[in-house]
Subunit: 444 residues, 2 copies
Amino acid sequence: MGCGYLLPARPREREIMKLELTGLHEALTAPVSESMNFLNEIAHRFPDAISLAAGRPFEGFFDPADVPRYFEIYRRHLTDRLDGDEAAVRRTLLQYGRTKGIIHELIAEHLRVDEGITADPDALVVTVGCQEALWLTLRALRRDERDVLLAVTPSYVGVHGAAMMVDMPVLPVREAADGIDPDDLVAVVRRARAAGRNPRACYVIPDFANPSGVRLDRAKRERLLDIAAAEDLLLLEDNPYGLFGDPAGPPTLKALDRHGQVVYLGSFAKTGLPGARVGYVLADQQVTGAPAGQPLLADQLAKLKSMLTVNTSPIAQAVIGGKLLAHGHSLRAANARETETYRGNLAQVLAGLERRFADLPSVRWNVPEGGFFLLLTVPFPAGDDLLAHCAAVHRVLWTPIHHFYADATQRNVLRLSFSHLLPAEIEDGLDRLAEFIRAQSAGN
Amino acid sequence: MGCGYLLPARPREREIMKLELTGLHEALTAPVSESMNFLNEIAHRFPDAISLAAGRPFEGFFDPADVPRYFEIYRRHLTDRLDGDEAAVRRTLLQYGRTKGIIHELIAEHLRVDEGITADPDALVVTVGCQEALWLTLRALRRDERDVLLAVTPSYVGVHGAAMMVDMPVLPVREAADGIDPDDLVAVVRRARAAGRNPRACYVIPDFANPSGVRLDRAKRERLLDIAAAEDLLLLEDNPYGLFGDPAGPPTLKALDRHGQVVYLGSFAKTGLPGARVGYVLADQQVTGAPAGQPLLADQLAKLKSMLTVNTSPIAQAVIGGKLLAHGHSLRAANARETETYRGNLAQVLAGLERRFADLPSVRWNVPEGGFFLLLTVPFPAGDDLLAHCAAVHRVLWTPIHHFYADATQRNVLRLSFSHLLPAEIEDGLDRLAEFIRAQSAGN
């Protein structure tokens, strides 16, 4: 679609309209956008490959009958709450609905029970997955071209994607073996300000990060909060995997947040049901200068949501609400089997790597305490071409780390995921991976 | 949240973090954003007022039991399609899913049956309501600050909202009594180009527009398509109400589209179930320069969607899919009772206005052939303050027309909606409206 002037009008002889990719938004040609496409495409091309790449929850316990069951549990709860007013029940479940959502009180109770977080239900916005929560937050914070986001890097691909969709640059903050480097965070903030930029927030997954699997200790969490307060910076805390961890582990940033520095991004994709596409944001920051009735950042995010997806499907919310009600608001309780599965898979992968690579000192990996992922260092650059070769020849998939840097620079690191696999698949997958790495290391 | 430099770090004594509204994205202080907020707030403040403002579908036929019923119908269909592979059924319904959606083939068949549109299923992206479809399309088309959207004005509030969220100006195109003014469309395009701007598309609701209720005749549709082809412009056709109209009416723009000028935005909020929040976009334009496997505009929209909401809830899609299957893919057939209701309501409102205002020549209204809305002209400016007064004193709500201009200029026109009301509510509402208008016209 050109931007040129009018041509002689002969519409009946024109061909089908063509648009040029380079005339569309630049997110569409960015590495991050091609990342997601490439990774999907390669999984599609090699369906018999074992995927150590997909970050999906284990689906062995999925049951389609849960959908009507949870929906019915929530419907009954709603009927009680609305004193048997069936018209109001129908309206709540099936009509256009409250922009901030209908299961906010259940989510607040879940946060209290499972995370020790005190959440004002009015500070919650129920979203179409955590990705919309992240996007809304970035859209609100990105006012002009000076505004930038910081993110621990390597970082979840969706952060780079969401930021790009609001034309907001992402400044990388270094990750050390024990997680985000606080000194680098301060340095990046100050360098950005010196360059006339306005760092609005730092994105972080404190519990079992994607891709590194690292969990921050409590001291580092408090250091992060102190830096955020001192630097007048928000922390965007994303927590999709924390609930599968040891409950005696450190509290979330939000549970430690005394000054309202933390916007908490919640997901039910791993703990609820991915197919519901329900997430939320807890944004209890006060907004000065806002009209009456919208005192919180959550209220501003809701205004943006009303122009993006209007509201999150109350049917999908009801399914998640029913699951919360069925388990006393505790997703930790609801996920006892899943938690055992993920811990077992992690232990199996760690033991399997040790068994296969103990004699190869150039192959190293980190040892997360939980989560879905770990990082494997290999003695050769592992990029997309090599992944394609590995998929075709060795029938195993992994994720080149450059996808989490949103660039195309090949590095010697790959992400392994193991959340969705059965034990036999893990053994086969690691066998194939070892075959690939040994062949590659031998310069084959 | 200031953008100033570091203050001495004394985080333990700081107050709760405050953000300033003026430091957030400008959509949050724009009239369009306050519009939606104000209209919701006033309905909330006067719950006993009769609403001639809400554009909601009639909910008298809603039944929560439809949710498990439709879900089950779709599940069985899927089991057949997947040759009884229950693991694949579970995965399709409950796991992360195909970005472009899972009910695309059913939607394509619905478009064939109900609209005479030939749709390639691969050119469909199933979205979180029509609003996400619109947003994705604008995000793709808005590359830099030269890109502008045209929209017939007054226009649906959500268009202004979506455009603002991608920082894309909206240039108004005049609407005449019979709909969009084609000469003005050409003039606006050429003026924009002369000013160095790049008009990418024109938004239009050809069937029973919101807010005017106008339906374009066939000649005007063909004129619009010719202009779009000659000016190298896309038409964004939004069609939430067309199915309730006379089936002998003019075809959609997309059905007449010979050159791929039309991006068709589909909604199931009125014809399916609003609570599913499922819509779609049919974007069959070829994109040159795109990588292999993504030849269509729909593929590019899917890439953006993967960074915004990842995919539309397959559970919600299954509910709509089941409704399509239950009615032979025809939503016209599924909505026989609703169609009768809406036509009856329109006839009742038109007769009721005639009865109440025939003696007041300064009160006029247009006579749509269908849809949810009409425009009423009154002999005084009708803005938000007057609406608040009317709600408090006369207990009836309507929509000041300035909300559809995305400005705050008071005009003598208001939008009446009647889709969700029972006959007695319509009579009461019109009585209250007449009382208000007569009091106001008398300078009271």
